[in-house]
């Protein structure tokens, strides 16, 4: 036995503990609740100089998986962590990894797959993982999460296995569940256990050139897949061997399948992960019922023989799953258990399936009791229990009449006499000019988003969006990317949107809205929608959506659809707890760019999304800040004119996020004003390629150094410390370079 120490940590924190002793070379990741904390903790260790692992914050999970694939091909020990749609977005990369036989460890912290979007736990993401060719280990407790991560390295790198491994733990129920856990006292003990990674080939040896990922059709591919199958067969044996060895080091045992209270019982409940732990309480409490618990610790390779042995003496079996495969009368586990029983010719057994706990619905002791009752009833072969169903669904209060809250806004109500846009000529430039009235007139515009949304106090998003909407006439359809504004306005069954709203995941809003817009235009052409109808289509995204969604947004811009894309820039992934986005300023502290002995915060410069979008040749782009001027209202009016008459508009609004910036709630407008004053965030427009600076702090004698802005922001002011002098100078230099370039563009019509 090797020395262990007691910790009181969550599942996610224990992944980081394991990563510390495994000493991974590389981690590629992208934030997604509830797995994000893993990268955060590891990045924090890195900032403190506690680990060597290289961390790569990718532009999306697809990119993260690609980065991991590349690193692993060069012989790195690689870690990744994701959940739900993150897994699905990277899905096509996973069989590439397995088919290329490249080991790595991916922590899948389970969460329900959209849509509708749900951030809590179920196993709908795990269902997809089962067909990727990866080994899938199940960790039902925080302790198991730690142990399985270490086992995963050794298992995947075994020369007869050579497969990537997923460690699956339940989002929130395990990932955020704090329990006592033992961890190795000495890193060497773990290193001795996992050994050195040995590769049959590597992409980093020029003296031994190789081709990884050839073009392989028939008749060869089937042979590659048989090799994959054989590796899984072997992995089952290897897991048992290394699990034994691990037991001798730690006293902690992980059989292929844990059968709890199954001695001489007539029925059993099969259930995965955290729910199985809750189930154990009831199995103990209701011993007299003769019902046991079956909990697999591994799903791929599937422990077929083991399950056959355990289920053989049973009269009935209840498979309870946190996932359904709609239309197939059972989740994936149900089908696999049924196939085990069939292979055992065990056809007289009563096998029933129940779907439970979707979307994070708590699995209570009462639910566990209901499953035991079901197991007892199903022992009687004559019982007429439906073999498939949902546990815990509710009908709703269907005999209650409930009226709508608000009537729809009418076109007349949304048409004002204070917003006007006209052509105006200044010298050689012909530009559009908007007049929008004064703030006291603008209060007359009915709000398209109503009160009662759940944003943080002082959130800049909603004042900015309302200002923008104040300048927009008539009917509007909005599409929101996943993000703060989406989450706080549409928590089911509530919606703060008084106009038609749709959501799509934040890779893909721009194409979605372009599809809707083109349908509107085509239906109008066909006479299926009255010609007098006119709708303005507006997409709203955070700056994070302009990382993962940049490609599709550029594609949409290149097609020049007549719509508006509006980015509220809060400089990070604030919806998931303040991780860095590419737009996050240089040196800012975020939950994935910690400040520590080895780090001053974010290590690369902020993305200039407006200039990237300008190169697509769209007719109108603008920047603005939240504030009390009518600048943004005017730009909204112009945006609507361009979207109606010419094509796509892109606008970016800097808004304050008091929670994740560490700035004062009441000073939101002042903070972003300083960002404009120091030229970090210049306020300008581009019309037909012609740049106009709307606010020039230099000519108004208001220009300040970046210092004055960042001293207002808790997460940036550490740059003012003497030890960060170089970083601060570098930041100022880049701001000046971009500002001078912008001025040149404003002066020269060809730039």
């Amino acid at each position: 036995m090797k020395d262990q120490i007691q910790k009181f940590l969550t599942g996610n924190e224990l992944v980081a503990e394991a990563a510390k002793v495994i000493d991974f070379h590389f981690m590629g990741y992208y934030p997604i609740t509830p797995s994000t904390e893993i990268a955060q903790r590891i990045e924090q260790m890195k900032a403190q100089g506690e680990i060597r692992t290289v961390l790569l914050p990718a532009d999306g999970e697809h990119g993260a998986a690609g980065a991991c694939f590349g690193a692993s091909s060069g012989g790195a020990r690689v870690l990744n962590a994701t959940s739900a749609n993150g897994l699905l977005y990277s899905l096509e990369q996973l069989p590439v990894q397995a088919g290329s036989r490249l080991p790595m460890v991916l922590n899948l912290v389970t969460r329900s797959v959209s849509g509708p979007l749900d951030i809590r736990c179920d196993h709908s993401d795990l269902s997809y993982a089962l067909q990727t060719g990866w080994i899938v280990l199940l960790a039902s407790t925080p302790q198991a999460v730690y142990d399985m991560n270490i086992l995963a390295v050794k298992l995947g790198e075994h020369p007869d296995v050579r497969l990537p491994v997923m460690v699956v733990s339940d989002g929130f129920f395990t990932s955020h569940h704090r329990q006592s856990a033992e961890v190795f006292k000495n890193k060497e003990d773990v290193q001795n256990f996992i050994g050195k990674r040995l590769d049959p080939w590597t992409t980093l040896d020029p003296r031994h050139p190789m081709t990884l990922g050839p073009y392989m059709n028939d008749p060869d591919l089937i042979n590659n897949k048989l090799q994959l199958h054989l590796a899984h067969e072997v992995a089952l044996k290897v897991f048992q061997e290394i699990s034994e060895e691990y037991f001798s080091l730690t006293g902690r045992k992980y059989p292929l399948v844990e059968s709890y209270g199954c001695e001489a019982v007539e029925s059993a409940v099969v259930i995965l992960n955290s729910a199985a732990e809750t189930m154990k309480d009831i199995i103990d409490e209701r011993k007299s019922c003769q019902v046991g618990l079956i909990k697999p610790n591994i799903l791929r390779p599937f422990p077929f023989e083991e399950l056959k042995k355990i289920s053989h003496p049973l009269k009935s079996i209840v498979v309870a799953e946190r996932a359904d495969m709609a239309g197939s009368q059972g989740g994936p586990l149900s089908h696999e258990i049924r196939s085990v029983l069939m292979a055992d010719h065990h056809t007289e057994i009563n096998a029933v399936s129940r779907v439970f706990g979707l979307g994070g619905k708590d699995f209570t002791h009462e639910d566990a009791e209901a499953l035991v009752d079901l197991a007892v009833q199903s022992m009687d072969s004559k019982s007429q229990i439906p073999f498939f169903g949902f546990l815990g669904a509710t009908t709703g209060k269907i005999n209650q009449n409930i009226p709508d809250v608000l009537p729809a806004l009418t076109k007349e109500k949304m048409t004002s006499n204070f917003v006007q846009v006209q052509k105006s000529t200044e010298g050689s430039k012909t530009l559009m000019k908007a007049e929008v009235g004064q703030p006291w007139q603008l209060v007359q515009r009915p709000k398209r988003i109503v009160a009662g949304h759940g944003a943080c106090p002082g959130c800049g998003i909603f004042s900015a969006l309302d200002q923008f909407f104040k300048g927009i006439e008539g009917d509007v359809v909005v599409l929101y990317h996943t993000g703060c504004a989406m989450v706080v306005t549409t928590e089911y069954p509530f919606s703060a949107h008084r106009i038609t709203y749709l959501h799509n995941l934040f890779q893909n809003g721009a194409p979605t809205l372009s599809g809707l817009l083109e349908t509107f235009l085509e239906k109008k052409r066909r006479g299926e929608i009255s010609v007098s109808e006119d709708i303005t289509f507006i997409m709203i995204t955070g700056d994070g959506g302009m990382d993962i969604g940049m490609g599709p947004t550029i594609g949409t811009a290149l097609r020049n659809h007549k719509m508006i894309i509006l980015e509220y820039d809060n400089q990070g992934y604030m919806n998931t707890g303040g991780q860095l986005s590419y737009t996050t300023p240089y040196g800012k502290e975020t939950s994935t760019s910690h400040v520590g002995r080895n780090s001053f915060g974010k290590s690369f410069h902020h993305k200039d999304t407006v200039q990237i979008m300008a190169q697509t040749g769209i007719p109108y782009l603008f920047t603005a800040i939240e504030g009390f001027g009518t600048d943004l209202v005017e730009k909204a009016a112009k945006a609507q004119w361009y979207a109606k008459n010419e094509g796509l508009v892109f606008g970016k609004i800097l808004i304050a996020c008091p929670l994740n910036w560490g700035s004062e709630e009441r000073l939101g407008m002042q903070v972003v004003q300083k960002a404009a004053d120091c030229c970090f965030f210049p306020i300008y427009e581009i019309e037909h390629g012609l740049t106009t600076i709307n606010y020039n702090p230099e000519s108004q004698n208001k220009k300040v150094l970046v210092n004055e802005w960042i001293q207002m922001i808790g997460k940036q002011k550490h740059l003012l410390k003497p030890e960060n002098e170089t970083a601060l100078a570098e930041f100022q230099k880049e701001i000046d370079r971009r500002w001078n370039r912008l001025k040149a563009m404003a002066e020269h019509p060809l730039l």
Binding site: N399, A451, P457, F494, G668
Partner: protein
Amino acid sequence: MFQKIKELFFKPIQIDVEKREFVSVRMEAIGGQGAHSAGKILAEAAVLGHQYSGQHFSSFGSEKRGSHVRSFVRFSVQQKPLRAATAVKNPDVLVVFHAKLLETHPEIISDVTDKTWVLINASNPSEIQWPENISTEKLILLPATEMARVQQVGLNIVMLGLVQLVLPEIQSEILIKSLNQFFVKNSPEQSVKNKTAFLKVNNKIQQVTPEKLGRQSDSVEESSRWGWLNAPIGGVILNPGNTLYKDLSASRKGVAPKLISEICFHCGFCDMVCPDFCFVWQIDPKNVEKPILQGIDYQYCKGCQKCVTVCPVNALVPVPEAEISEEERKFKIAKNKHALSDSGIYSENHSSIHYAEDHDESMRTPLDELLNTKSHVSDILLKSEDWKNYLTPEMIQQIEERKKK
């Protein structure tokens, strides 16, 4: 008046709690109040300090201030294994970080039992909306928000001090040690403040009986309205703007903006910067040139004070919550969930919804209508026995009657 209530019903008490073998604690709070941290600190004191077996986890939505947060702690003095990954039900100690939660989430006290100590952050009993059908002898109030503000400590520190009073299993020195470890980055002065605030709780607690509390009317629970039988398919919401039902006043931390009408010249700057759309205007459709600011809808105001910052004439000032009069609080479009559905009236002038038209009387589909409509869903309901599992006895009866017809 409040003073009188205090004299009548607030009696300083001696709390006497017997040690238990197993203890479960549930904290109900609003994001930003520190309930998650409080749970963690408490559990660490139990597990690392006392070597009990224990567990802690929290349930939260997205990372926002203002959302409902629940924090669960269980520990066993006998070191029995604690495995359940499920919310604490029938807690030994129920901690409510904001009295408003009893109004907005009445279900949080539905599982109170005889053994449950209910600890509520409230300064007087009338703040508390307590349902008639739940009785308890073990109800303690503490004006924790005010104490935290005055003593310049986090609310969770005061609440932990309160929790400790009913947890004889946890020694206060051990809990303070765990607390200091959590706030290790705090200055020594702050640590002293924390400790003082933690220990001072004893002087301010008041035990009350439910009869003295405000009464809660039955309310329509929007959240449990929809189920598989009646929710529109596709997960859509066909009830635009129904967040107006929500009450967000608990997001304020004791300070609110006050409108001084005599100074206000109705410039509209506040309306441009308010993230929560709280300003109520009088707009005369015949004279649109003159919108008049009437007041603030405190149901939605989260107290960020952006309006205070931009007001060019200081007509908006931050004041302690208690200084906002009942008269000033009258600008409510949705006083409660019934106000909307009963009368169908909402302020025509609220900045959120002014220009509202006559109330739309359309109703959602009741079961009877569903069964009358010829559809596959009604076929399933009428023919299949399986779906009975998901229906209430009354619904089954309705379906049986339908079948007979």
